[in-house]
């Protein structure tokens, strides 16, 4: 089977640009969540958010500005025959917001496909782009699609670009669902009370590799499932997520004990985190180090999996799993799993786990220098 290598990965986050910077700040337990200054939050359950520094009202959407930052950092050079897959939940939703607020139209240019087309053109990619959306597992689903297209020989090189931003559209919805923590999100904490909205963007270039390099990073497994249970709440017993995790581990040719750490979804909502830890306990015989990024940069929606992947790569490079941010009193069920401080782990395999609206569950296996 063709090894699928991560040739390039980069992120723009509320804690800075670049995977090394982001990992370093997460390892320091830095928190980017503060008062949301982008729009009036006085009617909402919370006024907290994690915003990317440097985003301004300059006529371009937040997503477009984040992609500009990423493109500039890369120098806009990707192989011309690279297939772009854009992953998001609502993407450039400000176009729709502005259209409704200003002229009552349906917001031309606000579809995910129009964003993908603009990005492909700006990066001078020749092939028509694809869009993948799977709620908060969108980036993970896009990475899986890229893996499949490369393995079956349809593509040699796939760029997954994902981005979602803090918008009035999404903020008002989560506020109405009573899903926002009034303070900063506290994933896996006993007193957690909801999520915090965040934003980020990322690029990951996946390519067919001719051989496996010792220091290379590869996507070796994936698993997906749905709960078929409820539109917003996860299955209480975690069985759907457990199935996705078990499938991912098995498809990578591994046993659960071979997984060195978990980059968890960890939203900070009571039900998600409880379901997630139940799923891990179903699959793993012994606790596995696990962290969430959402206490640091909030829930970045469709982009969440790409941030977790970036930190997982850096954790392997640095042989250290970062702490889970926002913890003050670890939930009893998560004790022994969630990392309260950095943990030295010489790791070869990591799980990247996401879950989303509609009961969507996903798991990817990241491996260093090893393929099936």
């Amino acid at each position: 089977m063709v090894p699928v290598k991560i040739s390039y990965i980069d992120v723009v986050t509320p804690l800075g640009e670049g995977t090394e910077t982001f990992y370093r700040e997460v390892a320091r337990k830095e928190i980017a969540i503060s008062k949301n200054t982008r729009f009036d939050c006085s009617a909402f359950r919370s006024d907290r958010a994690a915003l990317v520094p440097g985003i301004s009202k300059n006529g371009k959407t937040c997503v477009a500005q984040m992609f500009d930052m990423l493109a500039e950092r890369r120098g806009r050079t990707f192989p011309g025959d690279t297939r772009l897959i854009f992953a998001a939940t609502v993407g450039e939703i400000e176009n729709l917001e502005n259209a409704v607020l200003n002229d009552g139209s349906k917001g031309p240019g606000s579809t995910l496909l129009s964003t993908a087309s603009r990005l492909a053109e700006s990066l001078e990619l020749e092939k028509p782009p694809y869009v993948v959306s799977a709620a908060c597992a969108s980036a993970a689903a896009a990475v899986d699609r890229a893996k499949s297209l490369i393995r079956c020989g349809e593509e040699r090189s796939v760029l997954v670009a994902s981005a979602d931003c803090v918008s009035e559209f999404v903020f008002s919805g989560f506020s109405a669902l009573m899903a926002l923590d009034r303070e900063a999100a506290r994933p896996f904490d006993e007193n957690r009370d909801g999520l915090t909205a965040g934003e980020a963007a990322g690029f990951v270039l996946l390519e067919a590799a001719t051989d496996v390099q010792k220091d290379g990073f590869y996507i070796t497994g994936s698993g997906f499932s749905s709960d078929a249970n409820h539109m917003t709440g996860p299955s209480r017993d975690g069985s759907g997520l457990a199935k996705a995790v078990a499938s991912a581990v098995e498809s990578a040719g591994l046993k659960p004990g071979s997984v060195d750490f978990i980059a968890a979804h960890g939203t900070g909502t009571r039900y998600n985190d409880a379901m997630e830890i139940k799923a891990y306990k179903t699959v793993f015989d012994t606790p596995c180090p696990m962290f969430s990024l959402k206490g640091a940069v909030g829930h970045t929606m469709g982009n969440a999996g790409l941030l977790q992947l970036a930190v997982a790569v850096e954790s392997m490079k640095n042989r250290t799993v970062p702490p889970s941010t926002g913890l003050s009193c670890v939930d009893e069920e998560s004790a022994g799993w969630v990392t309260e401080r950095s943990v030295a782990v010489d790791s070869n395999h990591a799980l990247i786990v996401n879950a989303g609206f509609g009961g969507i569950n996903s798991a990817l296996v990241l491996s260093r220098g090893i393929c099936e």
């Binding site: 995910l112 959306s133 799977a134 008002s172 997906f224 499932s225 539109m231 509609g358 009961g359």
Partner: protein, 181 residues
Amino acid sequence: MNNPVACITLDVQSDAESLIRRYRSLRDDGTIRRPVKNFTRFDDTGKAIFLAAFELFNHTGSLPRDPSATAILAVDRDGALMNNTAYFENYVQNGRTMGSPNDFIYTLPTSVCAELGIYYGLRGQLLYMSSAEDDLYGFGVGQARTLVSEPHHRAVLLFVNDSDTIQAAFITPQFGAKHES
């Protein structure tokens, strides 16, 4: 290989009222045995996708044999644009203080897939895709083929909405196409 086992085409130029009438008619004749929760809340595409699913399963005469390994893939060009617009218009009309949680849950392109999964108990992957390719149905079938080539999926329920037409197909790793209409 991996040709659609079954494929149906549904014209969806009809308005919401026509789709609801069609749903009620299928309820009355017993094709739809259980009511679909929130059917009237779905946008026209969502309503049409549900109707296409009923027609598809009516056509094949059975539901997927392995619901836990059946994925749902929705493909179109607009995503949830209609529902997104409706949600935000409603929020603005209400003074930008409170969104409708019941409308918000349908603002994702995978929302209707999730409702289908809940209704039929299908627990495979839920996925939305779009492409600028001219042949959107061919694109959808191609993506579905790669999904069933993975070991954890045995079938894909595919819905492609393009040019006011929904094409629904049931794709398995088996060879051959039958029941096409």
